[in-house]
Amino acid sequence: MVEIKSVEYAYPGAKAIRFADFKLAGGEHCLLLGESGSGKTTLLHLLGGLLRSQQGTIRIHDTDITQLSESALDHFRGKHLGFVFQRNHLLQALSVRQNLLMAPFLAELPQSEERVNEVLDRLGLLNRKSARVRELSQGQAQRVAIARAVVNKPDVIFADEPTSALDDKNCERVSDLLLSVASEQKATLVVATHDQRLKAKITRQMVLLA
């Protein structure tokens, strides 16, 4: 489902980072661990096509995304991938419902109110459906971000430090929900984090060395 081979990335004026080859089966979850600066986010962005790799192949769902054109990559991302970021980065001008509908709208998939309700219900947010983003608590906002990441039923979900900003109670809840929702959707979950609290939950772990 996710496979990388001899991928390298060099920031301007810095030494190239060489990433170890790996392969994840469909529905398999994986933790990317490492100190800050070790390239966790870089690898995650390369996998998600947010950053173009300079070398090697990245196969996701039988597609080598390094070969896709810019707009084809955008399209691929919308259809097959979901993202959860550290700061939840919801669209502030929109309501919770509109934030969720943005996913199918931008991916050019049919927009379904039922699917939105289903996902919000699953994440315990149905009563916040028409709330403004700034009215949400941190934990709620992160759950909305998860809801938005899964609403298009992606094949792979990438999460970058999804729990670092949360307290223990919210961390527990958010990570449990993330894992169980990913499993229900049969999606592969890749989490980049230095949050020790997640280590016990995802057994497949890759440590990046700076």
Partner: protein, 414 residues
Amino acid sequence: MMNLITLVWSYLKAKPLNTFLNVLLLGLGIAVITVLLVFNQQFQEKIKDNVRGIDLVVGAKGSPLQLILCSIFHVDFPTGNIKLNEAEQLAKNRLVKSVIPLALGDSYQGYRIVGTNRAYTDLYEADLQEGKWWEKDMEVVAGANVAAFARVKVGDRLVSQHGLGADGHAHDQEPMVCTGVLKKTNSVIDNLLFTNVGTVWAVHEEHEEDEHEHDEQPVQHPSPIVPTVNAGDSVKEITSLLVEFRNPMAAIQLPRYINAQTNMQAASPAFETARLFSILGVGADVLMGFAYVLIFISALSIFLALYNSLKERQYDLAIMRSMGASRSRLFVTMLAEGIAMTLMGSVLGLAMGHGVLVLFTWWVKEGSQTGFTAYVFYTSELWILAGSLLLGIVCSLVPAVQAYRTDIHKVLAG
């Protein structure tokens, strides 16, 4: 459903004050332009309409503009009188095709009474609404607005005043009789009353009647201009003569001849109205300049609003990319936001402009009398809409390019 419109609208709504001010500022500029446009257009149309087939106005020496304003638009006082026999001489000139006499000086409730003949009303294709045309002296026909606003009906007996004001000296003569009312023509004749030249003479000669007895003699050789008197009468006077040329040569020769060889002056309606436009045009230009300044400031303000919002929007833009939006889609979204603001501004401006004209025609009596209407749309207003589209694109082009260039990795990793 999410679509481009709900997305753009949500972002505009998220900053209501900002959006409102930008739209209002642009709207004010567009409103001023709309008012000027509609006003100017109708004003020019009215003037062209009122000049009709009149090539030249001949009257007493004085201001040519005053002569035109008085004899064609009926908004100024006469420059004086001309002798009927001199007018007859002119009518015989080979360059003149036809003439229409005007005898002014009296009014009824502020509406001017015009002593003339049927050729004048025919010029404006006037039709009777009711009653019949005037024939004898002391019979009058009222224009549509006179009937409507001064409540003149067929059979009414009217006592005229001297001058144009409603408080002018009232003639204590035998009243005139209204024999007919005209249909509305939306031209200057709606505000006039028509009668024979003889009526105007009769009203004014009253005072002199005591001094010398009128010797009622039958008319031997009727004057070609006023058939009720003898040709060559050296006492009778009229205010002015509307002249139609026989050929284009007349436009060059006739005015020169009249101004140099006679005691009368010739004024060209085309030339004098053009002069009037250029005088009024200065004021319109100042207003127009003011409107353009408003529009320029609002365009700058819309640009700044979009440009400044980019910094806080860069996360939103990057997130939208992560959800599958292409670069060009962000570009279009940004453009759409600018266009939405300028389009709302120009629609608001057109509405305000026409609103002001509606109020104008309601409140100002002269507005409705001159046939001004706020309910017309000119193709130039479509140009305003098209121009605002262009303005929106210009304002949002730089922010849209910035949005297009957003480095999502940098923003999201930051």
